[in-house]
């Protein structure tokens, strides 16, 4: 247990309200898309098992649950994140301009050991719409400036690049997994109550 290999990845999705965070998650995990926008209700986290280099890992993708709407995400949301997905809407300039503050917010709140090499991925979403204002070039330049952050142009609606993006997310998050998590080796799962008596009580 001491030198466990990571099998659970916590991935959090950040970005302005309405850029399609929940849709991207849903598309990737459930292969579903709903055109009807509603501010996120009922989205918690989704899990999906993926194979990376013959390793079966569970990806736990955390939605903001709408708490980003009034800049009210608490520090608890960022705890123990292995990867951070920054999403903007290619049709709304403001959502792209806010990427900086989302990235900063993440680095401050999550406080990763090695901020320069933390695995971010940027997704420019809603490329299926015809009102594009943020060019690929501009987005790529931003990503390069932040230390070659991978960039994908996606459409949650048409399932464009969603699968690919999350594969890279998983892969990069795993690369990060050297000695990053010396903390918290064995936490207790209170949700599955085991008959822990035998193991913990000194039998006599």
């Amino acid at each position: 247990m001491a030198s466990r290999k990571k099998t659970l990845l916590k991935v959090i999705i950040l970005g302005d309200s309405g850029v399609g965070k929940t849709s991207l998650m849903n598309q990737y995990v459930n292969k579903k898309f709903s055109n009807q926008y509603k501010a996120t209700i009922g989205a918690d986290f989704l899990t999906k098992e993926v194979l990376v280099d013959d390793r079966l890992i569970t990806m736990q993708i955390w939605d903001t649950a709408g708490q980003e709407r009034f800049q009210s995400l608490g520090v608890a949301f960022y705890r123990g994140a292995d990867s951070c997905v920054l999403v903007f809407d290619v049709n709304v300039a403001k959502t792209f301009e806010n990427l900086d503050s989302w990235r900063d917010e993440f680095l401050i709140q999550a406080g990763p050991r090695d901020p320069d090499n933390f695995p971010f991925v940027v997704l420019g979403n809603k490329i299926d719409l015809d009102a594009r204002v943020v060019s690929q070039k501009r987005a790529v330049a931003w990503c390069q400036a932040k230390g070659s952050v991978p960039y994908f142009e996606t459409s949650a609606k048409e399932a464009i690049n969603v699968e690919q993006a999350f594969q890279i997310i998983a892969r990069n998050a795993l690369k990060q997994d050297n000695e990053e998590d010396i903390y918290l080796p064995d936490t207790i799962d209170v949700t599955e109550q085991k008959a822990a008596t035998a193991s913990t009580c000194t039998n006599c």
Binding site: K31, Q36, F45, R171, T191, T202
Partner: protein
């Protein structure tokens, strides 16, 4: 003001544990909830701070900033002065009173901001308690990580009562009782009998008693409402102390039950005081039921600090549709003709609502409110410090709780709860330890006056367990006398003293060597950090003289008190606090713990109505600060009560099976099924990565 709906069922102000649970519970059963907090962090009195934030909070800097913001908001609200009656809501002071900040800015600068998670109100979770039950049932446990408490200890307050022992294990399981080397045989039998008697008094108690006797976990009573089977034969009545007397429980063990298990906050004046027999028996049983559920002790701690708990409930609330606005406040309550609250003015506009919950960070200005709070406002006395080594528990038991009994020679003396946390629960860097002392506050004595002797004693005892440095000498004993009143934080004064400078320097050298080794292993960090670290150690060296000397003196003092030896050895067999004898394979002996940073403060127990709660509109519910409790059971009870007031017929934080979500009526339409993921060639900065991935993928399946 981006589209905040004009109406909510419930508006909750404050993100403390109780408020967050109520918010989550309401959202869970379909109520529309707006949840605000006047601060820019979650948790209110359950907040968790980094070292820097804690410093700011202690110095009241935050307060000043808020006061400015408050003034603006006040002006806004004033402008909206309008038809009908209304009540102004002011920001109440959230800061400490009588704080003595033992840290300095330099200490805080030693660490990365996220490295410390310091609780305002540290808490544990009782394994068979209501909180764990709620967390599991509601699914909130999915957002949290837990660790079992390593050691549950107790200690008498004064050296007279318990000469050489830092702490003893609270004997609870049959194994504990058998293995205890401090309990005489007779007491062991009496304790066994007593615990069985308690268990037998509960529904299904006989089975429970049997299973406890067999060393297994005790299952919670199946139907708590069912009448106890043997009610007739001496049903518990009167106080718990009287009940224990009838059961012939020796006084020493009654103390353990009262303070370490039932957490009585202060010394009982007479045996008629304290918890009732029924409460006491239930409490003891709950404790026994908690043993061996998730770990050897009855408690769990959650990682990253106690503020994770309210935040997890807030997330649940958000997941079920709750709207979150942190750093926004309610500045005015608008009343209808009947005197009921009909709307509130928030920083984002006016919102109509049916219920308003206000925690004590807000204060309603009631027409008849008394101008000043009552003189003897109750409070919680707190001490937080960062130590270089543990003072409680054996190796591997750094997460430890020790109940220090109230001093017997002082009427009304408080019980002190010492909770020690380490990097295992992600509240501090590896190799450091956070120690929290908490007790019921006193009007006459500051937190520092109440808690400093306890801190000092824990440090001395831990230091005494470490082999004293050869230089330890009598001369230092005088200094200890001097040093006692003063503080390790009063660095400058210390430097002038200079008397034991040489010793201090020597020790500093040793410390440095040891610590540097550690540092290299764990951090391998940047140069800057290492430099800072060194600076810090220099400071430590000078700063910590008092404590070092105290330790040495204590070691020397052992010779005099030879007659006390026996007690010490008994403790060694049982639970050597910080290993009295270094284990065979443990390379360096534990170093004497030193205080790197620390603070004492009083947390006033506030009320959002200044005590004149009667005049609030019926649909405004105040959530006053709860008295300190080491577990969160009282918070659950309070939240449950409040929820029942708002939603009398709904289940409190039910499971999905128990209360399935209501189907979303409005938009059940148009979900597009997307079978094949597509890839279009866009710019992408790690093309190599992607190609490799494509290759590995093409072997298993093909994509569009």
């Amino acid at each position: 003001m981006e589209g905040l709906p004009g109406h909510f069922d419930v508006v909750v102000v404050g993100t403390g544990l109780v408020e967050s649970m109520v918010a989550a519970a309401c959202a869970r059963v379909g109520r529309r909830v707006l949840h605000l907090d006047t601060r820019q962090y979650y948790g209110a009195r359950n907040a968790t701070f980094s070292l820097r934030q804690m410093g700011e909070w202690l110095r009241g800097e935050e307060e000043e900033a808020e006061a400015e913001a408050g003034a603006e908001a006040g002006a806004e609200a004033g402008a909206e002065e309008r038809r009908g009656a209304s009540l102004a809501v002011r920001a109440a002071p959230t800061g400490p009173s009588r704080a003595s900040h033992a840290g300095d800015a330099a200490a805080a600068a030693l660490f990365r901001p996220a490295e410390f998670n310091l609780d305002l109100s540290p808490q544990l979770l009782l394994c068979a308690g209501a909180m764990i039950d709620v967390l599991r049932r509601s699914g909130v446990a999915n957002y949290l990580e837990f660790k079992p408490l390593g050691a549950h200890l107790y200690s008498a307050a004064s050296p007279a009562a318990q000469p050489r022992l830092a702490a003893e294990r609270v004997p609870c399981s049959k194994a504990d009782i058998f293995l205890s080397s401090s309990l005489p045989l007779l007491q062991k039998r009496q304790l066994m009998k007593f615990l069985q008697a308690c268990l037998a008094r509960r529904a299904g108690g006989d089975a429970a008693a049997q299973s406890w006797l067999a060393g297994r976990a005790v299952k919670a009573a199946a139907a708590p409402d069912a009448p106890p089977p043997r009610a007739a034969d001496e049903s518990p009545h009167g106080s718990f102390a009287e009940f224990a007397g009838r059961q012939r429980l020796p006084d020493a063990l009654l103390d353990v039950a009262l303070y370490a298990i039932l957490h009585a906050p202060r010394r009982l004046e007479s045996s008629a005081d304290g918890p009732s027999a029924e409460e006491g028996v239930n409490g003891v049983c709950r404790h026994l039921e908690s043993l061996g559920v998730y770990g050897p002790s009855a408690y769990l701690a959650n990682c990253y600090g106690s503020s994770e708990l309210p935040q997890a409930f807030c997330r649940l609330c958000a997941v079920w549709g709750g709207t979150y606005m942190i750093h926004r406040r309610v500045s005015r309550i608008l009343l209808d003709d009947g005197g009921r609250m009909e709307a509130v003015v928030t920083s984002e506009g006016t919102v109509r609502c049916d219920w308003l919950l206000l925690n004590a960070d807000s204060r309603v200005e009631l027409p008849a409110a008394p101008p000043s709070p009552p003189a003897a406002a109750p409070s919680t006395a707190r001490c937080v410090c960062v130590l270089t080594a543990p003072v409680l528990g054996a190796e591997g038991e750094e997460l430890a709780l020790c109940t220090v009994f109230p001093a017997s020679d002082e009427p009304g003396a408080p019980t002190v709860f010492a909770l020690q946390q380490d990097a295992g629960v992600a509240v501090c860097p590896k190799g450091k330890v956070v120690l929290h002392l908490s007790a019921e506050g006193s009007a006459h004595r500051s937190a520092r006056q109440l808690l400093e002797p306890v801190l000092q004693r824990l440090l001395e005892l831990a230091a005494a367990a470490v082999p004293p440095p050869p230089a330890a000498a009598a001369e230092e004993e005088e200094e200890r006398e001097e040093g006692k009143g003063e503080e390790k934080e009063e660095e400058e004064k210390k430097e002038e003293e200079g008397g034991s400078k040489k010793e201090a320097e020597k020790e500093e050298e040793e410390m440095k060597e040891e610590e540097e080794e550690e540092k290299k292993e764990e951090e391998g960090g940047s140069k800057k950090e290492a430099e800072k670290e060194e600076e810090g150690q220099m400071k430590e060296g000078t700063k910590e003289e008092t404590l070092d000397d105290a330790a040495a003196a204590d070691g020397g003092g052992a010779g005099e008190g030879n007659d006390e030896r026996r007690g010490g050895e008994a403790g060694g067999g049982e639970a050597p606090p910080p290993d009295a004898t270094p284990a065979l394979d443990a390379p360096p002996p534990r170093v004497a713990p030193q205080v790197l940073w620390g603070a004492f403060f009083d947390l006033p127990l506030r009320s959002s109505t200044d005590g004149s709660g009667a005049a609030l509109p019926a649909n405004v519910l105040p959530v006053d600060d709860l008295p300190f409790a080491i577990d969160s059971e009282a918070a659950v009870e309070r939240a449950h009560q409040l929820f029942k007031t708002i939603c009398p017929d709904k289940p409190f934080l039910p499971s999905l099976e128990e209360y399935p979500p209501e189907p979303a009526v409005d938009e059940m339409e148009a979900e597009i099924e997307c079978e094949t993921p597509r890839f279009i060639d866009t710019q992408f900065t790690t093309k190599v990565e992607y190609e490799r991935w494509l290759q590995s993928r093409s072997s298993s399946r093909t994509s569009g």
